[in-house]
Amino acid sequence: MPIKVNNLSYIYLPKTPNETKALNNVSLEIPNGQITAIVGHTGSGKSTLIQTFNQLIKPSSGFVNIDDKFVVESSKKKNKKIKDLRKYLSIVFQFPEYQLFEETVEKDVAYGLKNFGLKEPEAIIKAHEALKQVGINESFYLRSPFELSGGEKRRVAIAGIIVLDPQIIVLDEPTAGLDPEGSKTILDLILSLKKEGKTIILVTHDMNIVQSYCDNVVVLNKGELVFQGTPSELFSTDVSRFSIEIPPLYAFCQSLKQKGLNLDISKIQSIEDLMSQIKEKR
């Protein structure tokens, strides 16, 4: 039971001089239990699209069906299941600042849990576990989330969502501002969540991540869907028209193929994969 986006359009500030059509008749499917990347040019509508998934914004027209359990549509009717929906599908925002508001880091991460009914001591214990998973140690627990570095804020914001244990986790540029080790920590965490059976949706500009971690990729351009498929299908088409850059590993494998080496690039996600394919050939 995938996520089905059906003829979705979204207009910001309708009927004003600054009206912006951010999504235009987008239809797509996101399969369960996999990692799907949403990519595309600045302003192409990625953040807008994901915000419709748990009804942070309501479609102007069209609808989103979440695993046949929830439907987000344009009607004015109140969605009675909205709290359950937000528990089922949670979003880490592009700017962590939009998500941080409590007076301490641990309270901030525990906030959502308490909102969903968990009592204080358990909520704080769970918060600590989640913080550990994103590389934030106990010296941060009682600090203000506003007085952190950029990367520390992002980690805390990610912990605040992971801790809720949603079935679908949506992360908007989760590695922006993270140091290389931090990126790896978060991406490995995402992989382990996938192994647990979660559905993961990542908005990213980093094609290395798309190649090495994602099962599917969706490309938006000026509010329209222009591609849906696997990463290697994407990179083997002419991607320059979508302002996408072929990741260096993929480009290198392509050049090896041109030189006559017989490789199955769709199976290569790392330099190690490449080296072992070459060894097999010998």
């Binding site: 990519v39 595309g40 600045t42 990367g151 140091d179 931090g182 850059e245």
Partner: protein
Amino acid sequence: MKNVVVNKLNFSYDKETEVLKDVSLEIEKGQYVSIVGHNGSGKSTLGKLLIGLLTPKSGDITICGLPLNKDNINEIRSKVAIVFQNPDNQFIGATVEDDIAFSLENQNIDRKKMPELIKKAASDVGMIDFLTKEPSYLSGGQKQRVAIADSLVRNPEILILDEATSMLDPSGKEEITRLILELKKKNKDLTIISITHDIEEAYKSDHIILIQNGEVVLSLPPKELFNSYELIEKYHLDIPFEVKLKKALIDNGYKVDEESSLDELGELLCR
């Protein structure tokens, strides 16, 4: 000539934890320097100290030959532009146009020339169609583009970029890099200090400064850094693809020359 001189700088936000410890560094006029280091190492704090937004606990900073102090701060701020890590912290104006205009305040610029300068800056970063929009209602990457326009329009002598392109798409990143290199061609003395986690970007700069736990631990040209596996491992650095590939080839028994290009590495694998 040295354009930025930092001498034994110490700083803490709360008097308890030292955030910067005895930081000393020198940056030549016209150099393009990358500052790298793990989350929370003190990079943004250093950036804010360099423009006098924070005050050091001890030590001193000299910018374009002027000691950073109350008397000089306005003059220094007219020469230095910073793009903050979070673009929302940059915006003052109610529209993109106003916002860029605000950065021209106190720059001794002929009022009549301002509209033209604003239009040029906005179109340089690809935001000319957004002049009447409210900065807070833009997408992440659009915000970063406006923040970059805010600082470029001032034609600074020193440009500090704090992860200024972290949310741009690859072609957007390239556009901005090209734009800055063009500026540099026009003004050879433009000094660029770029705080970044993007190792491919740092690889292209003239010089890398590595900060760890508030201390400068390395200051050297990129090639020197990435040719030393010892340093890479010691400081847990990410490595550019080219360097990673060479290391994998060596580990697999190939004879690799330090200077070989990607194309030559490819030839080696196809033999």
